[in-house]
Each structure stands twice: as C-alpha cells, then as structure tokens.
Symmetry: C2
Subunit: 382 residues, 2 copies
Amino acid sequence: VEHIRAVYHVASTAADVARLARAIAVEQTVEVPEELIDERIGREIVGRVASISDLGAGRFAVALDYPGGLVGGLPELLNLVYGNVSIMDQVKLAALELPPRVLGLFRGPNYGVAGLRELLGVSGRPLLATVLKPRGASDDRLRAIAHDFALAGGDLVKDDNNLFDESLAAFERRVALCQEAVAQANVRTGRNCLYLAHLGVPMGRLGPCVEAAVRLGVRGILVPPLILGLDVVRDLAERHGLLVMAHPAFSGTFLQDRGHGIAPDVLMGTIFRLAGVDITVFTNHGGRFTYTPQECAAVAEGCRRPLGAIAPAWPAPAGGMGFDRLADMTAQYGADSVLLVGGALLARPEGVAKAAEAYLARLRELFPERLVEPKRDQSPGA
Amino acid sequence: VEHIRAVYHVASTAADVARLARAIAVEQTVEVPEELIDERIGREIVGRVASISDLGAGRFAVALDYPGGLVGGLPELLNLVYGNVSIMDQVKLAALELPPRVLGLFRGPNYGVAGLRELLGVSGRPLLATVLKPRGASDDRLRAIAHDFALAGGDLVKDDNNLFDESLAAFERRVALCQEAVAQANVRTGRNCLYLAHLGVPMGRLGPCVEAAVRLGVRGILVPPLILGLDVVRDLAERHGLLVMAHPAFSGTFLQDRGHGIAPDVLMGTIFRLAGVDITVFTNHGGRFTYTPQECAAVAEGCRRPLGAIAPAWPAPAGGMGFDRLADMTAQYGADSVLLVGGALLARPEGVAKAAEAYLARLRELFPERLVEPKRDQSPGA
C-alpha cells in the first residue's frame, strides 16, 4: 500500500504528543470521536502515526502516513494534509512525500528548467526577468519597458501583479501591445524573450483572458495561486500548456508564522509544482521582506528536488534586488534561477535598456553563457 | 471619490510607523521605489494613509484608503488589501470597509438569513445541522444518517468535508441516495430539511458534480473556499443559485497567528459573504480547537453586520459541540445561527433520530419556534 507521508512540527509535551499525533491523524481523515472508528475504517482510512521525534524546545516532529487512495486531486490533497489541522495551534506541515500513484495524478510544470531553457535558447546562466509597472503607467510606457528589456537581451518580462484592466478589450489591447513589442525586439536580437501576461481576474474573465492571450501568441502567464486557488492554476496550466510564473501574493499567511502553516519548500516547491508552476517568485532575504537565507534556500530546494516525473521549477528571488546583489544572489541560487528585478531595474538612471544590458553583462561575467537557436515552436508539456 | 478602507494592525515603533504605513500603501498599489511615482500616479493609484493610532504594546492601527476603482472583482480585492503585505511580518488586516461601487460588484449569499428561513419554513430558533461521516462508511450508512436526521426534524445535513468519490458516477450515486432519503423524510414530516453535497474536487470535476447535484434536486453545497479559491466559490454560487456552506479547512493559515493574517470577522464574515457564502462554519471555543469566545463572536458579527445590499450570513459554530453546550452556544450566537453537531451527535448512544429529537427539543425550550409552510420552490437569489 502506498502512503502519503506528512511530517508535522507541533508544539507539545513528551507526555501529550502521542495523543496529539493520533488526534491529527483522526482529524484529517474521519473527524469523528474514537468510538465511531470501527476496525475496517481504522485500518483503511485513518492516518497512521509512523514516528514521533523530539526536536527540543517543546517541539516535536510527528510523521503520519495517510493511505494514498484518499485523494484524487489537489483540493483533496490539500484538505488531507493541512485542512482542519490548520485550525490547530502551532502545527506546521514541515515535509510531504507523495507516492507514485498520487504523483501520477499531476502533470507538473509544462516547461520546468530544461523546457524553458530550450524555449529561450539560453544555457549556463541564470535568467533575467523584469516587471511591467507601475500600475497607472500608460500602455505605451509599459510597452516601451517590454521592448527595451527584450532588445537588451532580457529573458522574461512579466506584467506587474497589480495591473488591472477595466475590460477584456483593455486587457487584449495592452497584452497585444506588449507581446508585439517583445516580438519586434526578438526579430532584431534573434533571441526569444518571453512576455508573461497577468491573470489575477475573476473566474468569469479568466477563460476569455487566457484565450485572448494565447491567440495573441503569449506563451506564459503570471498568476497568484493562493488568491486564484491552487487547482485553478493547475487547471489553467494543463488546459492551455502555458509557462506559469507564480506570484507570492497571499502566501505570507502560510509562511509568516514560523511555528504554523506550511514549510516554504513544501508550499512553494512541492505543492506549487503539482499546481503546474514553472517559476516560483519569492521575496529574497536582504530586500524589502523578512525571509531568512535558510528559508529562501528551502524554496529553491523545494523547486528542484526529485518529485517523480514532475519537472523541477525555477526559483525566482525578488523583492528589492539591486545590481549589487547579483553576485550573491547567483552564488546562492546557481545557474538554474530566475533573477526577478523590477523596481530596482526600472529606477536605474541610465534607462531600462542600458540597465538590463549591465545586469546581463554582469551575469555573463559570473556564469559562462551558451546561446543556441531558441525553440520558438516547441510544443508545451513535451 | 469612493475609497476602500483597510485597517492594518502592525508591529512598529512610534518613530517608524509613518514610514511603514506609506510603505504598505505603495507596496499594495504600485510596488515601485518612491522616485518612480509621479504626481498623477501618486494621486490616482497609490493608497493614502488616512490615520495612524497607537494601540499600545508596540502595535499600531494604520488606516489606508485605496481608490475604489482599483478592483473589478474578488481576486483584485484580495490582492489589493492583503496580497504582498501578507509577506511582511506582523501585519494583520484588522478591518475592511467597502464603498458602494465595490459592494455592487458582488451578489453575496443567494439566501442569507431570511432566504434560508423561508426555504425551511423555520423561524424563531437556531437551525440544527449534522454531518454525514465518517469517511469510509458505506453509502447506506450515510443515507441512514441523512434520513433519520431529517425525519427527526433536523434542518440541514451536509456531507463531511473528507468525503471523497472515486468517480463522478460514485458521487452521483451517493448524492442521489442522500438527497432521496431526505426527500422521503420530508414527505413524512412536511418539513424541508436540506441536504448539502460536498464539492472539494478538482476543477475539471467541479462543473459536472455541481450540475449532477442540481439535477438531483440538491439545493446546497459544502465547499472549502480557502482550498478551492474564494472566487471559485463566488462563481459557483452565482452560476447555480445554490445555498453555500463554507468549511473552514485551510483557514487557520489566515487566523492562527494573532498578530498576522486577516481578522476572523473580515475573512469569515465580510470576504466570505462577498464570495456568496450563506453559512460560515467555524470552530467554536471550548471544543477541540483554540479560538477564544471573542474571536468566535467576531465571526458571528462579521456574518451579520451591514454590507450594502449583501445579505447577512449564518454563523455555524462547530468542532466538538455536545448536547450540554447547546444552551451556552445559543446564548452566545442567538437565534440566527446554525448549530453544527457532527461527531457529538453521531456518537450519542440513543441513535441519530432520537439524539436529533433531543437536540431540537432543547432548542425549542430555549427559543420559541415558529413553523410555516416551507417555500420549496423558492428561486434563489430573490
């Protein structure tokens, strides 16, 4: 029998932790008083306490095995491993191991690390990405940023997560402008810079927007999985074969309490990859936000660790990353990372084109770049 | 100009709090360095710091006004008021006030308090609800619980949030059995007990499942909004005109850190109502979970407070609620609440029917019940 292994870090005492472990196993599967659990249900449904170990300082690691047959997709998996237990105090989902049957339910990222490198024709160095913003800037201004960045040889340019269009027509107009600007620059450079359109819209507009974007030649999207719903993102990725960049909006509710929630590698690595995320944006240490180097390293590790046939994803550190951070960012995250530089690049006095050139030149000093012909027509999910 | 007023409780110092307030206002709207904010964008887009007050103990209340035109639906609203700021340390969304234009984007609960009372034909007392569980029990066993509870005069019977069907056919079979069992009991009682089917399934199955349930005569659904996505629930509610009960799975990630996340009345009251939730299940104090009486009262208040033309919702305290808790639960939550008694009722030695009768008799002692003819054919969203 294949099991889903979930490891929780809990606050408890040595005397009480076995009771708490069993309570979690019951809560997450049958949610009834013990006397209602008969022998068969106890054997086939209820989670099994596999081990308990003392982490010191009043914390314990509780490993539970849930029968792998309890889930049919992402909503059931999320409910099983962290649904009700999220409402307990000081219970963190610290690790998650999925058996082949469960992994087989998911396609994972359409491109992943290797697929995006083929699409771009860029090997050997980290990718450089920027952001079309601020909200309120004219479409022409956003178009110019996209064009100049692509012309300088940048790899990815995405909409800001705050961009908002009054109507489907306004979305199409803006996306067409930016996509065309990047395409024109690509003709001149011979490269394949990709534009990612933002899809943080209500359900009724999600389908029409993504269809419009695909029709305009857009290959990738920026989505906030924890706002839209993780399975909405999975469904979009599978249905349209797109490159998916995940924005971390709303993610702090899972990550910010270090004794509760979901470990960053589990949420932004394993779970995001199940949701089809190719690129995981997270706020790097030392910028405007407060994650530690260890937490950031965990996200990167979660993006890359073996996960059955599911491709590795790209960690994309962001959040106030200036030019002087490039060397230490690339030293930490290595070649297979996306350096997302938004405001810090846009604010450079020399302009977007020259700033992007300088960033890329620095990356090439740090990593030997190998360029090949981009696979523009690569079909997704290959 | 109409504004969205968001009040954040933040950890700061008197010397730094003004800077932090401005940083949040910029982060949530334009997310660029100050030098990139021109006069027009500063006036039209960036949030305005309306007030700062000292809460003591190193906490401050920061009230921000965002232009109401910045959102077109629920995903944009969630991103605006708590997207990036969720990744800051110790910033809680403590209050949210929405202007008429924004409220007008939402239909809210299809039934709410008055609509559900009409549908049931029950006035004057709290409603009694139970749960079909445990997972792993046979369809016949679940069917029998539904039948006996409805025959005893119970008001609502819902699937457990852990129920899982291998296939659409299995879902249809189980839902048909439970719906029919309740309908048969209703013929004998003359009442209109409602069965709510669980919809915690992947996107591709969501539509077929809800359509099957509606075809079978089901009027209500149980959904986990924070797993499916809040806007998915809103879309389901609007599209199918259903009675929506929200399960709190995954909600602890927003609520459990008392210095971070979203205040319970804002999340499970205001935001859930925008998502079309008629009944908000939450874990009552004194049961298996750890919310305080004040936090539970806040949920109930958030369900009921004025919100434009959006109907009030039902608070549904749950989580280990035995018979001896009825008097204090009803004293706290009043007549317009749903008492959700699952395992505590199923475990009663006298059986489901007699236990439900006893619960209802006790409720009628505490509140004078008024029964009228149920409006079985009431069209939703009236």
